[in-house]
Amino acid sequence: MSNIVYTIVEDWDNPSGTLKWAEFVWHDGFAQIHAVLNPEDNTLIDNDATQYKVNQWVEENLP
């Protein structure tokens, strides 16, 4: 399966917090799951780990 395209978005209600979402097209809208943060600096996103997580999630949750 090719990589799923995702974007990182801040939490709407807490934009300055460390929680970030990986958002990707899903069905007739989109889905958001937690982005993976860099373990050494939680203000940064671990893009490789997030990509892997998104791919896995989509593969496991296709109807």
């Binding site: 939490d11 209600d13 979402w21 809208g29 889905a31 799951i33 109807p63």
Partner: protein, 244 residues
């Protein structure tokens, strides 16, 4: 029902919508204004304002079926709560989470219900409505309840953002209070009816033994039934769900 959007609004209108007792004071209703701020309050600032529904008492329905598993095995699936038909409407959005559960289970006539018929179109915490509450369900399936999830579906939200509340809290006599943080949910947005769905996964809410077709397939959140398509009428099995 929301207040009118034009013309004269009376003190009695405010009291009918938002409650309270005599004597009526304007200040007690200031937080319900939809426009304006400060200590000067005008009646037209209440145009379209509505009392929020932040808590519902659920009379659950219990649904159970066997679904095919690997190597000719069967797995149990349960779908308890209320508004199960909406979990069918949005099965595609939540993908594999509940898609194996047959549509007949999700749409049969034994749906759970809400006690006292509050206005579900203004579901939300005190900070504002997030839309029309359609469903809160607990579904579980697979060997050792491999999947165990709670899902809340809100339609007609007017927004696609993952926002608007902090926690969904379940309480019931005899049950440990369950607090589900929005920040811990998987979030789905569907353009159909501008619907927002929050799903809390990988938790254990079941009390039943999931290993055979004769086992109990109950839910600790929506208890009182292991049957297929059976509406529960036992008052002690009601749970209260509050959004904050």
């Amino acid at each position: 029902m929301a207040l009118q959007t034009s013309g004269a609004i009376s003190f009695a209108n405010l009291q009918t919508e938002f409650g309270g007792s005599h004597p009526i004071t304007m200040g007690e209703y200031s937080s319900h204004r939809v426009s304006g701020s400060g200590n000067t309050i005008s009646m037209n600032q209440f145009y379209g304002a509505a009392a929020l529904t932040s808590s519902v008492e659920v009379q659950p329905a219990a649904k159970y079926q066997l679904i095919s598993g690997p190597r000719n095995s069967s797995n149990e699936a349960i779908l308890h709560g209320f508004g199960q038909t909406y979990t069918n409407t949005y099965s595609g959005n939540v993908g594999s989470y509940n898609s194996p559960i047959s549509s007949s289970i999700k749409t049969d006539s034994a749906q759970g219900s809400i006690i006292s018929s509050p206005d579900l179109s203004v579901w939300g915490p005190s900070s504002g409505a997030i839309g029309t509450l359609r469903s809160i369900t607990h579904f579980s399936r697979g060997a050792s309840q491999a999947l165990d999830a709670v899902m809340m579906i809100v339609e007609s939200t007017g927004s696609n953002s993952n926002s608007g509340f902090t926690n969904l809290v379940a309480t019931r006599s005899g049950m440990t209070t369950l607090t589900l943080a929005r920040s811990n949910a998987v979030y789905f947005y569907s353009s159909t009816n501008t619907t927002r769905i929050w799903l809390w996964d990988n938790l254990d809410y079941s009390t039943g033994t999931p290993t055979s077709s004769t086992a109990t397939h109950d839910s600790s959140l929506f208890p009182g039934g292991s049957g297929s398509g059976s509406a529960n009428t036992t008052t002690t099995d009601r749970s209260t769900w509050t959004v904050s």
